[in-house]
């Protein structure tokens, strides 16, 4: 199909001098439409209605999101240095939003729209799992809003032509032929009052929002946030809780949309709202001439602007990639069923031809679909895809080719049932693992499980969302569209081809669509090890240990040593007592263990405050002496030599090292030489004995983040210069405050977060082969009782 011809074809001729407005121009279909108009209809002007972004103006969005898209590469090549002139001369932008009354136009925008002869409304929420109210605002009310604005702006004698892009699936609720008739004429559709549906959808949003604020439900969100983040501090938990609430409302609206649509016989909220949109437009259009164009499933371009051009990752693409990755083991559908796909350039051509033809007296419908004229069987598609991916497999992280599964076309119910079970089982296993106090490499099982569960969930989503499309038995007739095509002259037929009969499905699948999908998905298509996790971590590590100034902050417990404040206390308390008392103290602490752990999990500061009361009355000088032995007898056996080596590496590089810990000052004293600063707890002292009350409370949670930011500020460092090492989500605020966070022996929750965010993970262990001291008891060797008196208070 040649892009340029010498003689002026009829379509281009008819549209010459016209000003054509396009909504939804930043979308897949819209971009292709704008490009085609600019390239193949040299005499027309194009006005795009684009929403202003949060940071970008509408014009800026046009430039970045439309003109810079690779869709325009061909035109750019053809026009060379005239491209910019041509585009700025013929393409203009007005800021507007089809989701708002009056399209949200300003005076200038209204003036420009007023001068348009044809308006092609292709803006839609195409996502099949959009929340119901969002879909209603855009898909249902959008066309009517466009019509109302045009009625208001235009001269009643010269009404512009509104071409409304809909979907063939508005009419898919029955088996057999679905002809190009108005939605109001279809016998198979249960008519509902669209105004009531709009009101219901808006009400549902309010209802969902208020029930999301129900105290019990809020407690549920909070519990779930805690489950994910642990004791990450109030601010982070609040943020996560609010996001969960938002997601809950949104999920609920999605579910409502799907169930409402399915109750009325549509596959999903998209087709449902689109059909109501047609109905509403017919009611509100007044004397505005309207034509509907209903494409089926729009996929990558057959020829124009180049074979395989596609924008965004849409419906079939994620399914195809999940299949190629071996994630989607099964997909429902009938092998002999028709999968009604139509390349985007055919749809664009049909729209342009319809626009050039102009409106008829009454609204008419053109369907652009392949199913009746030149059907693609589902079984054919699947077997082509299977052989294509068998020849050109994707590769897993180890560089092994992935063998694609063979689908046996079971019913949708069966596939859904299996997937739901898988999601349930994986979810339960994940929860169980999360409850275990796992660390380090074992904690990564949990995060791998999480990955598998989310894969299964996604597969279930795909099946639930798209399964209906593979099972549709409605056959979309395209008689009117074909008649229009037949009426075109030879040149137009070549320039604006929209007869699906020209598609060679084998060629389209293997040479056009699949290569394009694979390219867009940015997946591994060769066994070569590309940027593996290891190399990414390697780079992070080299940045951490660069010669640049750094602030390296370390947590203590489980980051530098596998010990905790209870063990230290237990050791000190047993140092000067006899065997029987020693056993009693240790047994007591062991019994208290779960309770202490629970308190620690709930609130670290409270835990420390209450636990340190046990030091009340203990002789301070003696404990200071004993703490030196505590390091040699217990803590250094529990320390991670790799951690100490890393710490020392930082020092050797001249970095500033800081320890932030809830441990007591005299306990960390023996490792003071390793740090430039130690931020820790300290106890009050009266008459040479500890009072058991904290004089300096150790910072926890967000306070740690603030502290290290301040410290970095004093050193003149930005966030990028902070390295933070921690093991638990209670340090999440601190890790997030650091540009270079490192998860050390992470517990399951932190392991999952680190994996998602690509943080380096270190597995530091105790010295290989070093004596394991199962109980934190001071030297059990006989005859250790020696110098000094017993810390009576500490032994209580």
């Amino acid at each position: 199909m040649p892009g340029r011809v010498e003689t002026t074809p009829v379509i281009a001729d008819r549209l010459a001098g016209r000003r054509i407005a396009v909504t939804g121009a930043t979308g897949f279909l819209g971009t292709a439409l704008v490009e085609r108009l600019l390239r193949c209809v040299p005499g027309c002007e194009v006005v795009v209605l684009v929403r202003s972004g949060q940071r970008q103006s509408a014009a800026e969005r046009t430039r970045r999101e439309i003109v810079r898209n690779d869709c325009f590469d061909r035109l750019r090549r053809e026009l060379k240095d005239r491209f910019d002139d041509e585009v700025s001369r013929r393409l203009s932008t007005i800021a507007g939003d089809v989701g708002k009354e009056g399209l949200g136009l300003d005076a200038e925008g209204r003036a420009v729209l007023q001068g348009c002869d044809t308006v092609i409304h292709s803006a839609a929420t195409v996502s099949f799992d959009a929340p119901l109210d969002g879909a209603v605002e855009v898909n249902l009310l959008g066309p009517s809003r466009v019509a109302e604005t045009l009625l208001e702006l235009s001269d009643p004698k010269h009404r512009p032509h509104l071409v409304a892009v809909s979907t063939a699936y508005v009419n898919s609720g029955h088996k057999g032929d679905a002809s190009e008739e108005l939605i109001t004429a279809s016998r198979w559709i249960t008519a509902t009052d669209w105004r009531q549906e709009v009101a219901a959808a808006r009400r549902a949003r309010t209802d969902a929002d208020s029930s999301s604020r129900d105290p019990q439900r809020l407690a549920g969100f909070h519990k779930k946030a805690r489950g994910e983040l642990g004791a990450a501090g109030t601010a982070l938990l609040a943020e996560r809780t609010e996001r969960l609430r938002d997601e809950w409302v949104s999920d609920r609206m999605v579910a409502l949309g799907r169930s409402r649509a399915q109750a009325l016989g549509w596959p999903d909220a998209y087709a449902f709202t689109k059909s109501l949109g047609e109905r509403a437009l017919l009611e509100t259009r007044g004397d505005l001439p309207v034509t509907f164009v209903r494409p089926s499933i729009v996929e990558s371009a057959l020829e124009e602007p180049r074979p395989g051009w596609i924008r965004g990752f849409r419906m079939a693409e994620p399914v195809i990639i999940s299949y190629a990755r071996g994630v989607l083991r099964q997909f429902p559908g009938l092998p002999e069923g028709i999968i009604d796909v139509v390349p985007v350039d055919l749809v664009v051509a049909a729209i342009i031809a319809v626009a050039a033809t102009g409106p008829e007296d009454d609204p008419t419908v053109y369907q652009v679909a392949s199913g009746t004229r030149h059907p693609l069987r589902y079984g054919h598609l699947v077997s082509r895809a299977e052989s294509w991916f068998t020849e050109r497999p994707l590769y897993d992280n180890r560089g092994q080719p992935i063998v694609v599964p063979t689908w046996s076309f079971p019913g949708r119910g069966k596939v859904q049932g299996e997937l739901r079970r898988a999601v349930r089982v994986l979810g339960a296993a994940e929860q169980a693992l999360n409850m275990l106090p796992l660390r380090g490499e074992r904690a990564e099982w949990a995060s791998k499980l999480e990955e598998r569960r989310s894969q299964a969930e996604r597969a279930l989503d795909y099946v639930e969302l798209y399964g209906a499309y593979a099972e549709t038995e409605a056959r979309f007739r395209i008689d009117r569209t074909l008649a229009l095509y037949e009426s075109l002259d030879e040149i137009d037929r070549k320039l604006f081809c929209f007869d699906p009969a020209v598609i060679d499905w084998g060629h389209y699948i293997e040479d056009v669509h699949l290569p394009s999908v694979v390219e867009h998905a940015r997946v591994k298509t060769s066994p070569k090890r590309t940027r593996t996790l290891a190399s990414r971590e390697e780079r992070a590590r080299s940045s951490i240990l660069s010669a640049e100034p750094r602030l390296a902050v370390f947590d203590l417990e489980n980051t530098l040593m596998a010990s905790n404040v209870v063990e230290s206390y237990s050791w000190l308390a047993t140092r000067h007592v006899d065997r029987a008392d020693r056993a009693r103290i240790v047994a007591h602490l062991l019994l208290e263990g779960p309770q202490l752990l629970a308190l620690d999990r709930r609130d670290r500061s409270d835990f420390l405050r209450s636990f340190y009361r046990r030091y009340e009355g203990a002789p301070a000088a003696q404990l200071r002496l004993d703490a030196i032995e505590l390091w040699s007898d217990l803590l250094s056996l529990r320390a991670f030599p790799d951690g100490l080596a890393r710490l020392r590496q930082h020092r050797a590089l001249g970095h500033t090292t800081v320890l932030i810990t809830g441990a007591l000052d005299f306990i960390v004293e023996p490792i003071r030489p390793l740090f430039d600063e130690i931020v820790c707890a300290s106890l009050g002292e009266r008459d040479g004995a500890f009072t058991g009350e904290l004089v300096a409370a150790p910072p926890t949670g967000e306070a740690r983040a603030i502290l290290i930011e301040e410290h970095a500020g004093r050193l003149g460092l930005t966030q990028g210069g902070i390295v933070a090492y921690a093991d638990s989500t209670s340090d999440l605020p601190m890790l997030e405050a650091a540009g270079l966070p490192v998860a050390v022996n992470p517990e399951a929750k932190l392991a999952a977060i680190a994996r998602r965010r690509g943080w380096p993970v270190e597995h530091w262990d105790r010295t290989p082969g070093c004596p394991r001291k199962p109980l934190a008891v001071a030297g059990l060797r006989p005859g250790t009782r020696s110098i000094g008196s017993s810390p009576a208070g500490a032994a209580r």
């Binding site: 030196i628 390091w631 040699s632 007898d633 250094s636 056996l637 320390a639 030599p641 100490l644 080596a645 020392r648 023996p670 030489p673 390793l674 105790r766 010295t767 290989p768 082969g769 070093c770 004596p771 394991r772 030297g779 060797r781 005859g783 250790t784 020696s786 110098i787």
Partner: protein
């Protein structure tokens, strides 16, 4: 019946399997016919009344020294230094020789009215001793009298306030020792002379010195020129110490040297088979061997280690001499040689040895790979006089599990030396020039050496330097039954069995080498002709 001298067995068809030490355990190995096995002499009889012998030595000193009692007077400063936990091996049953000698010295001092007495454990750069270890070495009476009053010190080679630079030798070697010891009116040094290397001027010049002083003889050049450490007249290490010792004397430090020798009765009755010749094993020895080796197969390494480290050796005192350093040491050497020398005819192509669970630097601790190398190539290889047991270019086969294991309290700098330095190179000169300074002056290691129980930061380097003579002399080192990665890291060859080790050796020494097995401990010195 007088104890039998050492013995060199030639393996024939009727020879039973030979016992090889293998860390916390042992293996029975069938040596090829024609191999030689060197056994230590049987233990000398113990002194009948050791306390009387000690008193006798104090009253009748050697050389130009006066009896101890006439060196003591009221108001003087007396310092008693003693060997640390690295001696003897295994630690001896109570009472320890140091306890006997120090109690006797203190008795004389008390009688003379001396009340300014300080005891100093002569650690050099070794780890501090724990209270338990000090109590064991000194006995409760001495420990309780001195420790609570702050009069029991451990030499701190990194305490600038308690070091005194006495000058430089004619070779430019700095002599810097413990200030209290140097400034005392009398310094009594109590030695346990387990091997010929111990004692003499090395006691004060090494045991009480600082890094600044030690580095003059603990370096690659000196170690390579010490052939062997057990033969002081051919050991640069000792020559250097002797120069320093003479300077110390010339500087006015009055040293009263007490040396003691032990017999080769190394293991208690239940482990008697370990020091008997296999073909002479009684039914009880066999049962003991079977019971312990079967039990050890099922015992976790850590428990086995604790078990072996709880062994206290019978080690009987065979002589004690006191007085002027060199005269005392000459007598000591005679005694050590009499007990330990075994004449051996000619060198061997392949020398095999089983390494036990203990060396001077892992008492109550873990024998990490560096210490395995040091025990094999530093100590056992050097148990010779005249010529090394193995010919130049020959192969040394060690048997030891060589676990990749460390004690983080005692050997923190070893971990980093193994992970960072040996991972880069095993070349002695490169290691010395490139890394020693940083480790020796590292503030964290210094802190741990001074306040915890860590060997000095430079100590792993010294362990590696101990191997210098062997590394230069040998064609290959093979370790049987060791952790492969750890053995390779040391630059040695790992082998699963002795047979495999001999195969690996055949690249170097051919297919029909002469083989000699050093059956130690009990310790011996091969006098190779």
């Amino acid at each position: 019946m007088s104890p039998r001298p050492g013995f060199v067995l030639e393996v024939d068809r009727s020879t039973p399997s030979t016992l090889f030490w293998h860390g916390e355990g042992y293996r029975l190995e069938k040596l090829p016919i024609g191999s030689r096995v060197i056994y230590a002499p049987e233990p000398f009889h113990a002194l009948r009344d050791p306390d009387a012998a000690v008193r006798q030595a104090l009253d009748h000193p050697l050389g130009d020294s006066q009896p101890l009692r006439s060196l003591l007077r009221p108001g003087m400063r007396l310092t008693i230094a003693f060997d640390d936990v690295s001696l003897p091996l295994p630690p001896m049953r109570s009472p320890d020789v140091r306890q006997r000698v120090i109690e006797a010295v203190l008795e004389v001092a008390a009688a003379a009215g001396v009340d300014d007495v300080v005891l100093i454990a002569a650690l050099a750069l070794h780890r501090r001793m724990t209270d338990d270890e000090l109590r064991h070495a000194l006995g409760s009476r001495v420990f309780d009298a001195f420790a609570p009053n702050g009069l029991l010190w451990q030499h701190d080679a990194e305490d600038p306030s308690n070091l005194l630079h006495l000058g430089q030798t004619e070779e430019g070697e700095d002599v810097e020792i413990n200030k209290r010891a140097a400034e005392s009116d009398l310094l009594v040094y109590v030695n346990i002379n387990l091997v010929a290397m111990d004692g003499g001027h090395k006691s004060v010049a090494t045991g009480l010195a600082s890094y600044k002083s030690l580095r003059h003889h603990h370096n690659v050049r000196t170690m390579r020129a010490s052939k062997s450490f057990m033969d002081r007249h051919h050991s640069q290490l000792h020559t250097s110490n002797w120069r320093m010792g003479r300077l110390i004397a010339a500087a006015g430090v009055k040293v009263f040297q007490i040396e003691t020798t032990l017999n080769t009765d190394t293991f208690p009755a239940e482990f008697r088979f370990l020091q008997r010749r296999e073909w002479e094993w009684s039914l009880r020895d066999r049962a003991g061997f079977l019971a312990t080796s079967k039990a050890l197969e099922r015992t976790p390494a850590e428990i086995a280690r604790r078990l072996f480290h709880s062994i206290k050796s019978p080690h009987d005192l065979t002589s004690v001499q006191a007085g002027e350093v060199e005269a005392v040491h000459d007598r000591t050497l005679q005694m050590v040689h009499a007990q330990q020398l075994v004449p051996v005819e000619g060198q061997t192509d392949v020398l095999t040895m089983g390494l036990p669970y203990i060396c001077p630097y892992n008492v109550n601790s873990i024998m990490n790979p560096i210490l395995v190398a040091c025990l094999g190539l530093g100590y056992f290889f050097n148990l010779y006089r005249n010529k090394p047991l193995v010919r130049e270019g020959g192969v040394l086969i060690l048997s030891h599990p060589t676990p990749w294991a460390f004690n983080p309290v005692h050997h923190p700098s070893y971990i980093d030396f193994f992970e960072q330095v040996l991972a880069e190179t095993t070349d002695l000169v490169e290691i010395e020039s490139k890394y020693e300074h940083a480790f020796a002056t590292d503030p964290w290691y210094r802190h741990l050496y001074r306040t915890s129980y860590a060997y000095h930061g430079v100590h792993p380097f010294y362990m590696w330097y101990w191997c210098a003579h062997a590394l230069e002399h040998l064609g290959r080192v093979v370790v049987v039954g060791g952790d492969r990665a750890a053995v390779r890291r040391l630059g040695f060859f790992p082998a699963s069995t002795l047979a495999d080790a001999l195969e690996i050796a055949s690249d170097v020494v051919g297919r029909d080498p002469s083989i000699t097995h050093l059956h130690a401990p009990p310790l011996l010195i091969a006098d190779v002709s």
